[in-house]
């Protein structure tokens, strides 16, 4: 969303001048040219198949570029971790590539790189995924490596130690970055230490230090199962060509143990009063601000009104938060808001990095906008936001990677078959009354948690003077847990 990136990588200046001066006829600039009816988006067909072991395969043909994207999606992520083993899902995913079949970690990486392929394994809240992107000419060579990694990981002990040290060091580095501190602190104060959402996906130093290869094997066995997975293929392929290759590599996959019992999250209460949490970053020239509370799950019936609401509040360049904090006041390079929708309710957050000497002023403007959004929505703002969301929808179906991500969402969150084809009309059906209703339901400025990471000796007096609510100071250790 932010405008104007800079940096290295320059370009050669070659200017050729055809020095002809000619005054042309003037076009009518008194009004912007009219915009015609939106073009139809012909959604690519999803061809749904199954392998002999029941593993679902969804194929979408896209023939512009000779590449293929193949994703194996596992419907268990960090939220499925048993008994406070926070981080085991993402660590298990990362370990798949560290030894599989007869190959070592280095051999897997070499084989994949040599094919000009990209293979990555990662875990998020509600899924784990192994994603392959490869020139279609080398798909047949890449799939056996992907299948080894997915189905025959060996979880070598020395590779676990490597991953552990990598991750502990990353956690240590996160403590340097004010934006990371703010994000981790915000989740922690909303969800606490017991709830999974209160700790980052990668876990804490405490949990990371305790993992054994048995933990990885146990999570793998319970989650990586054909009846808990699906394959997605998007690209320059035909089902008749792709299916036999997938059958050969994934058709014999059988689960090795019983599935895990579903994990139940501890109850979590919304904040009932507004509280302020301050983390000191001495000398910081900006303060990182996060404001919000617990939002909604992906299954919310209010999904479409919330998308429109958030677009108006902080989900587009012309949104109220960005226009206020950036364009009107110049306090920030950009302000935004988001509802992080997961299988269970994730956070709603309004966020910005603001200059230190305008921290209190910025907080005041945040709350002006968070309060203002509860009022009736002007018609032009509403229609602009709806058009912005609806009319740019085709751009989420442009590349093989884009389409595969849409399909992952559809699978993981059980979206209806007509979800994509009805998306635009569902957005266009949102009314001003809908937006106001969801704003009043999900935006509660009087109860929000407010996290500020900055130079407290400069910013604290101004924040106190705003009287936002009870204030608590958090050390970096209280945010992240003990230092790795």
């Amino acid at each position: 969303m932010l405008r104007a990136k800079c940096w290295v990588l320059g370009a050669l200046l070659v200017a050729a001048f055809a020095g002809v001066t000619l005054v042309a006829q003037q076009p009518d600039r008194s009004h912007p040219p009219p915009v015609g009816p939106p073009p139809p988006l012909n959604l690519p067909a999803i061809q749904k198949q199954k392998l002999s072991n029941g593993l679902p395969v969804w194929v979408v043909e896209l023939h512009e570029v000779p590449v293929a994207q193949v994703n194996l999606v596992i419907f268990s992520g960090s939220a499925a971790e048993p008994g406070r083993k926070f981080g085991v899902a993402s660590l298990t995913a990362a370990m798949l590539e560290q030894g599989a079949g007869s190959r070592s970690a280095l051999e897997i990486a070499d084989a994949v790189d040599y094919l000009g392929a990209d293979l990555s394994a990662s875990g998020s809240w509600d899924l784990s995924a192994l994603r392959l992107h490869v020139p279609v000419a080398r798909l047949a060579d890449a799939l056996p490596i992907m299948a080894d990694v997915a189905l025959r990981p060996t979880f070598p002990k020395e590779e676990l130690e490597r991953q552990r040290q990598q991750r502990l060091t990353s956690l240590l580095q996160g403590r340097d970055d004010p934006a990371t501190i703010a994000a981790v602190a915000f989740a922690r104060v909303l969800f606490g230490v017991e709830h999974r959402y209160g700790t980052p996906i990668s876990g804490s130093a405490e949990t990371l230090k305790a993992f054994t290869t048995d933990d990885l094997r146990a999570f793998y066995a319970s989650a990586y199962r054909p009846e808990n997975a699906a394959l997605l293929v998007v690209g320059d392929v035909k089902p008749g060509m792709a299916l036999p290759m997938l059958e050969k590599n994934f058709g014999a996959w059988k689960a090795s143990a019983a599935p895990a019992a579903p994990v139940k999250f501890p109850a979590v209460e919304q904040p009932t009063t507004r509280s302020v949490y301050l983390v000191d970053k001495p000398g910081a020239p900006q303060s990182q601000i996060r404001i919000g509370w617990i939002g909604v799950p992906r299954s919310t019936p209010d999904y479409f009104p919330i998308l429109v609401l958030n677009t108006i509040l902080g989900g587009s360049f012309s949104s109220r938060l960005n226009m206020n904090l950036r364009e009107q006041h110049g306090y920030s390079y950009g302000a935004s808001s988001s509802f992080d929708m997961r299988a269970a309710a994730g956070p709603f957050v309004a966020a910005a990095g603001v200059q230190t000497d305008k921290t209190a002023e910025s907080l005041k403007e945040f709350f002006n906008e968070l309060t203002g959004i509860l009022q009736t929505m002007p018609a032009d703002e509403l229609s602009r936001a709806k058009n912005y969301v609806a009319l740019r929808y085709p751009s989420s179906f442009e590349t093989t990677g884009d389409i595969s991500r849409r399909l992952e969402d559809a699978l993981v969150y059980h979206l209806p078959d007509d979800y994509f084809s009805k998306y635009v009309q569902n957005i266009q059906a949102v009314t001003a009354a809908d937006v106001q209703r969801v704003a009043q339901k999900y935006i509660a400025p009087g109860k929000f948690a407010v996290v500020v990471v900055g130079d407290l000796k400069t910013i604290e007096p101004g924040i106190q003077a705003l009287n936002l609510g009870p204030t608590k100071k958090l050390s970096v250790d209280e945010v992240f847990g003990p230092k790795p």
Binding site: L13, A24, S395
Partner: protein, 438 residues
């Protein structure tokens, strides 16, 4: 290297065909059209052939500040309308500034192409009609916050600034950062804006790509309709290429609010597309592209004294730099990392890399060419690349020629480039260390 039994995959060898038409308006604006009907979207991509290299000392950061002003309205577009009109049409837009160019793109559904061309042409032809000192002040504050966010409040953010100051002598146009120095941002005036626009934003110093779901003939008529009345002006004098030579080792240590030391080694290298430039991309892969690359394998995988290592040829128009960056693990020092890095560079300078290493890099580079043509709009989309190739080579569809630079390389080229361009006794060595507590 590993003894792997792996059949050499057939090089895809597909021709990368990005068909285009090109013409020039009487006012000097070059226009390039490319049709791709895969989704009903179009991109309007404008490059002005000016960047921070054209700034003068005392006004650093000005090209980028100017870029921000291009979104603040123009003669027939009030402040805020540029974004709100585009959003109402389902459009997105952005821009960026580098040392040698400033680019702008608007992505819209294909029915809103004319709106995008109207907005793009209005700011080319009528930017100053609505510009005021107040507009400059407002974006000055935003840009200062951009600098705080990306430099001062970003761990290791100061490194890029210091690195360029060490690589390039005072007065060289790459000496100062694109984002600029704070006092210079404060000093920038409305009068500077007028002068900069008149000098650098003429149609003869720009190129426009319209790509995506268009009919080329219809798109040409619309471009002619909206851009033909933009006043012609001569382009700026071409820049000379000023000398930049490292004659020895320059070493510096700078404190930052970080916990782990990070080492930066940098060399001055051939400019973009000059002989040696593509070779150094492969050298970077051999050193740090993937887990089996030499530096990664030793520092991160085997010795486990580094958290990360990267190497890249940062290609630019007047001069490039080759940079190696590595972060020490807790308990280890930048000096330990440097010792290993130097051993590996020396080895690459004296012994040929394996055919496997070269082939692995070429296969990855070839794939990246395919991946880069999946998207039409935005930064790095096909529209942006057509404009980049046109700007730098005069040929918008230079994809195959670019890829051919890599396909022509041999293992001896790789060794020779490491020897010629990465001398251990002529470079910059920068360490970012944890700040001493007062």
């Amino acid at each position: 290297m590993l003894a792997l039994v792996l059949a050499t995959p057939a090089r895809a060898q597909t021709k990368l065909d990005v068909a285009y038409t090109q013409f020039k308006l009487a006012n000097g604006l070059t226009v390039i059209l490319h049709e791709d009907h895969s989704v009903p979207l179009v991109t309007v991509n404008m490059w002005y052939h000016v960047g921070s290299a054209r700034e003068r000392p005392g006004r650093t950061g000005f090209a980028h500040l100017f870029e921000h002003l291009m979104f603040m309205g123009s003669g027939h577009v009030k402040p805020g309308e540029f974004d709100s009109w585009l959003e109402a049409a389902g459009g997105d837009n952005n821009g960026s500034t580098q040392t040698d160019r400033t680019n702008y793109w608007i992505n819209v559904p294909s029915n809103a192409l004319e709106l995008a061309l109207f907005l793009e042409s209005d700011r080319m032809g009528h930017l100053l009609d609505s510009m005021t000192p107040k507009t400059v002040d407002a974006q000055r504050d935003v840009v200062k916050n951009e600098r705080r966010q990306s430099v001062e409040n970003q761990p290791y953010g100061i490194a890029q600034v210091v690195l360029n100051e060490m690589l390039y002598p005072e007065g060289h146009p790459y000496h100062w950062p694109v984002i600029g120095y704070m006092p210079d941002l404060t000093a920038a005036s409305y009068e500077d804006v007028v002068a900069f626009f008149e000098k650098f934003y003429a149609p003869s110093n720009a190129s426009l790509v319209v790509a995506g779901d268009i009919d080329s003939a219809a798109a040409r008529r619309l471009v002619e309709k909206w851009f033909s009345d933009v006043k012609a002006a001569p382009p700026p004098e071409p820049m000379g290429i000023p000398a930049a030579v490292l004659t020895g080792v320059k070493t510096r240590t700078v404190g930052d609010k970080v916990q782990l030391p990070r080492l930066y080694l940098a060399w001055l290298t051939p400019r973009h597309f000059a002989p040696g430039d593509a070779t150094l991309d492969v050298v970077a892969d051999v050193l740090a592209g993937g887990k089996n690359a030499r530096l990664y394998k030793r520092l991160v995988y085997d010795m486990q004294i580094a958290q990360d290592v990267s190497a890249f040829q940062a290609s630019a128009g007047l001069s490039s730099s080759f940079v190696v960056i590595a972060t020490a693990r807790p308990g280890h020092t930048a000096a330990e990392l440097q010792k290993v890095i130097d051993e590996e560079i020396k080895k690459l300078q004296s012994e040929l890399p394996t055919a496997h290493e070269l082939e692995r890099s070429l296969n990855q580079i070839e794939s990246s060419f395919y991946n880069r043509i999946e998207r039409v709009g935005g930064f790095g989309g096909k529209g942006d690349q057509l404009n980049a190739y046109y700007t730098e080579t005069g040929d918008p569809d230079w994809f195959n020629e670019d890829l051919a630079r890599y396909r022509a390389l041999s293992v001896s080229d790789i060794r020779a480039a490491a020897e010629e361009f990465l001398p251990l006794d002529k470079r910059v060595e920068l360490t970012i260390e944890p700040e001493k507590k007062p």
